[in-house]
Point group: none
Chain length 194, copies 4
DNA sequence: TATGAATGAGATTTCATTCAT
DNA sequence: AATGAATGAAATCTCATTCAT
C-alpha cells in the first residue's frame, strides 16, 4: 500500500518552514498545524512541547548538513580544497530552501532553547561540524596546502566567516550575490601556503 | 539642582538591558517597568509601542558605536591600521556591558522590526558603520597598506568576520578568549599588501 | 498455564494508585496507561469513561473494606467491642497502602461523580458500612455494653469520628501517630455504659 | 464619592462562591470572570495564578473564621463551655453561605495547593484555629469543667469530630438536620468532668 | 482484545496596549 | 508626566474520547 508522509512528518516539515520564515516566537502551534493540515493537538502528542519541536527541527537540519558535508568531502585532493568545499557546501546548503537551514539562522539554537538538557543536545550535535572543519584544516597543514596555523583556532575563525556570511547575506540588506564567493576567496587566501 | 536620570532614561536603560539579556520577545513591558522601577504606562507614553522602543534602543547603541568608532579612528596612520582599529573597537564595544551592544546581537534589528519604515530607519543608521569601514579600506588601498582589493566587497567581507566573531564568541559555547584577536589577525593578514 | 494479572486488572490497579496519590482531576488516562504499561485505548474499552473507571475503583475499595469488616467482626463478644473493632479495622485498612483506601479520601465519591446514577450506586454500596456500624451499636445497646443511645444517630456520629480522623491523620500535617488510637478511645468512652 | 466593591473584590467573591460550589478544578477562570462580570485577564493581574487565587480565597475564609471564633468566645464562663461555643461557631460558620466556608471543604487546602510555600502559608494560618481550641481545652482542665485529659491530643480529636461532621453533614447524603447538635453533645459528653 | 495516533474543545497564562485618575 | 488597573485576543498545553488498524 502506497503511503504518503505521516502526519508527524507533515508537522515537522511545516514547523521547519515556519521557523525558517518567521523565527521561533512568531511561529505558533496554530500556524504550524494549519500549514500541515493537521490537528493542533498532534504537536504536543508527537513532540511534547514547542521547545522539543524546535530541537527536533534544528537537529534534523544539522544532521542533514553533516551528512551532505561528509558526502561532498569525499575524494577531495587536499586540505585546502577540503576547506573550500566545506565553505561552498555550507553556503549552498544554506541557500537551498528545501533544506530549511534558516531554522538555525532565523532562530537561535543557543538562546531559543531554554533548558540545559536541550542546549546540550544541540551543542553536541553541532560540534560534529566543527570537528569536520578542524579535520580539514589539520589535513591541509599536514599535506602542505595550508600554511602553518593552529588548526583549532583557524577552524573557529573560518567558521565565523561562514556564520557571518550567512547572517549578512541572508538576513541583512547588505549582502549581494557575490558575497559568498568573496568570503570563500578571502578564507582560502588567508589559509593557503605560499 | 542636581537631577538623576529621568524616568524615560531609566526605562530605556532597563529595556536595553533586558533586550540584551533575553531577546526581543522574552522582554515584556512589565519586566522593563519593574526593572526600571517606573510605571508601566510610561512605556507607551514615551515610546509609543514595543517596536518603537526597540528601535530607539537599537539606534541608541548604533549611534554610540559610530561615535566611538569615529573617535578611535582619529589620527590613525594608514588604512590597514584603520581597519585594525575598526575591528578592535567593534569587539571592545561588544564586550562592554555598559554599551548594551547585545541588543543588536540577541535581537535582530532586521527581523524583529516589522514595519518597513522602522526597518529603513535602522538600515540607514547602520549603514554609517559600513561606510566608515569602506572608507578605511579605500584609504588603505590608496596609501598602499592594503593590497589591491575592491573596497566595497572587501569591507562587507570584513564585516562578516566581525559579525560572525561576535555571534560565535558571545552566543555559542565555541569561542574562547583569544577568538577576537585571532579574527583581527586573520583579517589583517587577508588585507595587507606584500 | 500460570497467568499474571490481566491488562484490565493492571489498569485498575494503576488507576487506584494514581487516584489515591493525586486525586481525581490530576489523574489522567495517559498517566494511568503509562503506569500500567498498557495501551491508552484499553481504558475506554474496558471501563467506558473516566467517571465509570473511578466508580469501579471506588466500589472495589468499598467492597474490600466491607469484606474485611465482616471478617474482623466475627466472634466479637459484645456491641461495644464490635464498635472498637469496626473503628480499628477502618483505620488499619486506611493505612494499608495495598488497599488504596485513599481513593475514597483524596477523591470525593460524592462530588467527583457527576451523574445521578453513578452517585446512587456509590451511595448504595457505601451504605452497607453504615448498616454494619449501626448494627454494632444496636447490639451494644441490647447487650448492655453501650449506654442507652439512639443507634442510628450514634453510628453517624461515630462515623464522623472515623472520617475526620482519616482526613486529619492522613491529609493534614496535624495528626500524629497516636491519633487513631486517641479517637478510638474517645469513641469508646463516649459509648460505653457505666 | 460612593464606591462599590473593586473589581478585585468582585473576582475574589466570585472565586470563593465557585470554589465552594464546584471545587477547585471545576472552577475555571472563565466562569469566575463571567460571574464577576469582569475581564478574564484581571485574574492573573491581581492574583498571579489560579493557585494563588485559591490561597487568597482560602486564607480569607480562615481569617474570618478565626475572627468570628474570637468574638464568640469572649466572656465564656469556663473551658467546657468554650469548647461547646467553638464547635457551634464552627458549624454555624460552615452552614452560613455568606461565609463561603465550603471553599475549605469542597477544595482541599492541603492537596490543591501544590507548592510548599503556599502549603506552609495555609498551614500557618490554619494552625491558629487549633491553638484557640487547645487553649479552650487547657482552660477547661484548669477550671475543672473538663476531665483530666491531654489538651493537645484532645483538641485534635475534637477537631476531627468537627471536620468529620462537616464532611458528613454537607458532602454526603448521610447527615441529617440534627447531626451537628449530636456531635456537639457527643464531644461535650466525652470531655466533661464528672 | 489491543494499540496509540488523531481530534478539538477548553484550560491557564501572557501581554501589548488603553485609559481613567 | 505619572500610575497601574483594565482589557481581551492569542499563546501554549492538556486531555477525555474516538477510531483505524
Amino acid at each position: 500500500m502506497a503511503m504518503g508522509p505521516t502526519k508527524k512528518e507533515l508537522l515537522l516539515k511545516a514547523a521547519k518552514e515556519l521557523f525558517s520564515e518567521h523565527g521561533y516566537s512568531e511561529t505558533t502551534f496554530k500556524k504550524i498545524s494549519e500549514r500541515a493540515g493537521v490537528a493542533l493537538g498532534l504537536l504536543t502528542h508527537h513532540f511534547g512541547n514547542k521547545e522539543k519541536l524546535f530541537l527536533t527541527a534544528g537537529l534534523d537540519v544539522v544532521h542533514e548538513l553533516v551528512q551532505t558535508m561528509r558526502t561532498n568531502l569525499q575524494g577531495v585532493p587536499n586540505g585546502l580544497e577540503a576547506v573550500r568545499i566545506f565553505a561552498k557546501t555550507y553556503f549552498d546548503f544554506a541557500r537551498n530552501p528545501r533544506q530549511d537551514f534558516m531554522v538555525l539562522v532565523r532562530c537561535s539554537p543557543f538562546s531559543d532553547l531554554k533548558t540545559v538538557e536541550d542546549k546540550d543536545v544541540m551543542i553536541r550535535n553541532f560540534s560534529e561540524l566543527y570537528e569536520i572543519l578542524e579535520e580539514c584544516v589539520k589535513r591541509g597543514v599536514r599535506d602542505g596546502s595550508i600554511r602553518d596555523l593552529d588548526p583549532h583556532k583557524t577552524s573557529v575563525v573560518v567558521f565565523c566567516n561562514l556564520v557571518g556570511g550567512i547572517r549578512h547575506g541572508l538576513l541583512t540588506p547588505y549582502g549581494d550575490d557575490g558575497l559568498f564567493d568573496d568570503i570563500v576567496d578571502f578564507v582560502i587566501y588567508g589559509l593557503k601556503a605560499r
